[in-house]
């Protein structure tokens, strides 16, 4: 039976079908839905599914399960693998028992990320195999195969979809869900599981010795294949292979094609292809991983071949590819006419930009309003990763580097002897992810800064996943809810106050106290995410503008809520109003009132 599935759902389906016992992850676009699709099946198929507090925890939990002999998966976005890089690199030495798939979604073009690093480089760095699916069907099939490959080689396998695979949909064949699974039994083997230097050295040799076995295993998989036509060729990896095939069909040219879906690529197939062609274009997204491999191989098999790609400027190294870009590159190589696209520049110039923004009624906007009132625009506002980074237009986001870096960057700016006030902000989920060591570090090293935890009781940006502060697990079971306030105190902050950002005066007062406090202060601005509030049935009466009182001062408009417009000299509140009431408190002429 075929179903129309999102790439991430297809991967989740393969995980369930393969009989995985432990599935972990930390939310991150474009990978989040994988864990979410597995979670509802946790009790039916006895799968431990968890949102871990961060990617390092996620991978280590999955490693423990694999070492105990069962199949396990850790899911994260590309930058999450940086957080999990420590266990990942040494995991290659110890290897695995139960099949272990590390599923990492890359995000070319930074659709929803702070960088566009290429996870294939991590696989090469760690000397483990990597599978690069072109579409949801391949993602599903590769995920099933990854468990087998992992068990055959006793190595973790990196499954690396990209945004256009994870968030693509296709008709996908549904498979059978395995009935029997290995029973967990951790076998003690210190030479293998205890990475003392004396154990690590021989494991490193063994890992290097395994490289031939990896090549043999990947030599005949269906995702590496070629069609030999003319003596000009295209070699393309993952989704770039689909763009190339479509471009060739549109151009109707006689070009040979080699599609690659694995790293390391298959030497036999690649060398056979290189001998056949005189000129080749290597097409892949992000880093020239395949291209550099082809360059090296060509030295042996066809030194005279002309190789075009990123190194020659024919294929961009940043952003994502599409059929249009690939078509023009191939047309250029084959001396065909490139496609001409109508210039819409003039038409587009009249369009107002529509950047994503904080939702109507979002409490973060209110928190930042109060923060700016107290600290002023000259203060320094390091921030972090989450919806709240969208408040950059409010002037209260001065830095955003990586998960958890707000508090530490703020500390560094202070220790550099910057004299102005410093107030940083971090969301609740991010605080629990990697903010904790940063706060502990700030307390220990006596950083005189204010830390604001924007606590909306969810991981909002990635689709409202629970975290340890919410009292619920990934599968919806109740669990202990940790108190952010208690954590902040125990980590060493001596000023810790919780405030409701919808109460503007109280929040201003709270920030004022935090600012006046000498030493580390923590303000927890706590209010439900507006989207969660709506879903749980909380509804407030919307507000309206009483035109007679409105002076047209635009204070409410400048607040930036999408529910507030300005027309004919007056503010107007539109149907998006959620009734948070913050604008009514900001208005100095009492012109905003509840719509009865």
């Amino acid at each position: 039976m075929k179903e129309y599935l999102l790439g991430n759902a297809a991967i989740a389906r393969a995980i369930i079908e393969a009989g995985a016992c432990v599935v972990t992850g930390y939310p991150g676009t474009p990978a989040s839905e994988i864990v979410e699709y597995v979670a509802p099946f946790s009790s039916k198929y006895d799968i431990h599914v968890e949102w871990s507090v961060n990617e390092k925890a996620a991978l280590e939990v999955a490693i423990g399960a694999s070492w105990a002999g069962v199949r396990a998966v850790a899911v994260m976005k590309h930058v999450g693998l940086n957080v999990a890089a420590d266990p990942f690199m040494t995991l290659a030495y110890t290897g695995v028992k139960g099949g272990l798939v590390v599923c990492v979604s890359d995000d070319p073009f930074c659709h929803s990320s702070q960088n566009e690093q290429d996870s294939r480089c991590y696989a090469r760095f760690a000397c483990v195999p990597c599978l690069d699916p072109a579409d949801p069907r391949e993602a599903r099939d590769m995920c099933s195969y990854a468990f087998e490959l992992s068990e055959e080689l006793e190595l973790p396998v990196l499954l690396r979809p990209t945004t256009r695979v994870s968030h693509a949909s296709a008709d996908v064949e549904m498979g059978r869900i395995e009935g029997d699974r290995a029973k967990a039994k951790f076998l003690k083997d210190p030479a293998r599981w205890v990475m003392l230097p004396a154990h690590a050295r021989p494991r490193h040799s063994m890992l290097l010795d395994k490289q031939d076995a990896i090549k043999t295993a990947l030599a005949n998989v269906p995702w590496n294949r070629f069609v030999l036509r003319g003596d000009i060729g295209v070699i393309a990896s993952g989704i770039a292979g689909l763009y190339a095939e479509e471009a060739l069909k549109q151009l109707e040219v006689d070009v040979s094609v080699l599609r690659i879906g694995t790293f390391p690529p298959p030497e036999g197939l690649c060398s056979e292809f290189l001998v056949h062609v005189t000129k080749v274009m290597v097409i892949e997204e992000l880093e020239p991983v395949l291209e550099d491999y082809v360059e090296r191989l060509a030295r042996t098999y066809n030194p005279d071949i002309e190789i075009l790609g990123k190194r020659t400027g024919h294929i961009p190294r940043e952003g994502e590819l599409d059929t249009f870009i690939v078509r023009n590159a191939i047309a250029d190589m084959t001396a065909q006419q490139s496609e001409v696209v109508l210039s819409l520049k003039e038409a587009e110039e009249i369009l107002p930009p529509r950047p994503p923004s904080l939702c109507p009624g979002c409490s973060h906007r209110a928190t930042y309003y109060a923060m700016k009132k107290v600290f002023g625009k000259d203060a320094i506002f390091p921030s972090d990763i989450g919806c709240y980074t969208l408040a950059v237009r409010m002037g209260t986001i001065d830095t955003c580097l990586c998960m958890g870096a707000s508090i530490t960057v703020a500390s560094g700016i202070r220790f550099a002897d910057e004299e102005r006030d410093i107030c940083c902000s971090i969301g609740d989920s991010t605080f629990l992810h990697t903010g904790l060591p940063g706060l502990l570090n700030a307390a220990y090293n006596k950083a005189n800064i204010t830390v604001t935890v924007l606590d909306n009781s969810t991981t909002a940006m990635t689709g409202h996943q629970p975290h340890p502060g919410t009292g619920f697990t990934a599968s919806g079971d109740e669990t202990k809810a940790v108190s952010i306030e208690a954590i902040a105190k125990v980590l060493g902050a001596d000023f810790v106050e919780t405030v409701d950002p919808y109460d503007v005066n109280a929040t201003i007062e709270c920030f004022q106290m935090a600012k006046d406090h000498q030493g580390l202060s923590v303000v927890i601005a706590k209010q439900l995410c507006e989207i969660t509030a709506r879903k749980t049935g909380i509804s407030r009466k919307p507000y309206r503008v009483n035109k007679e009182n409105c002076t047209g001062c635009k204070k409410c408009v400048e607040f930036g809520c999408p529910a507030i417009e300005f027309e004919e000299g007056c503010a107007r509140i539109n149907s998006l109003c959620t009734g948070c009431g913050v604008c009514a408190q900001i208005c100095t002429s009492k012109a905003i009132e509840v719509l009865e």
Partner: protein, 196 residues
Amino acid sequence: MRTSICDIVVVGVGGQGVILLSNMIGKAAVKAGYSVRGAETHGMAQRGGSVVNHIRLGCEFGPMVPVGGADVLLAFEPAEALRHAHFLSRDGIVLVNINPILPTTVTTGKARYPALAEILTPLQGLCADIKSIDATELAFKAGNPRTMNVVMLGALSKFIPVREEELIKSLSDSVPAKFLEVNRRAFELGKREVEL
């Protein structure tokens, strides 16, 4: 040479139900026996930003409609129609909901929202036909303003090679039973709007 049977690009603003609607179309097309490819916008852009989804019927290639290849541009918002007009094929058509959603750049006075004619005129030169639809009003008429996307689905049903029954079936599978009636009315109103 064509590389799909029908290429559709659905555009709108985060929160208008672009993803939900695209999924209904994709599911119906799979039931109808097509090989289907789709691409969605998730994550940051969903927070009130510009959202683009692609659906390709009878296609074995990548999930994104190539620039200049869309047979139908289904736009839930006029400015978004023009913003994504580069996807249109010269033989393609535009189905556009004429009700603007003002971005914060406009509400805060930093940018101007153009008049409807300023948006539709340049579009006219780019494609075979434009159907302007007051979908927000029709959704009100159907009984719930949130069915605007289904009004647009009804209009779309006249221009894609998927039978109406398949789309309705997909709609019934996607919305709660108590909202089915209002959604069916919305579908019907959208369909009738382009029949006239």
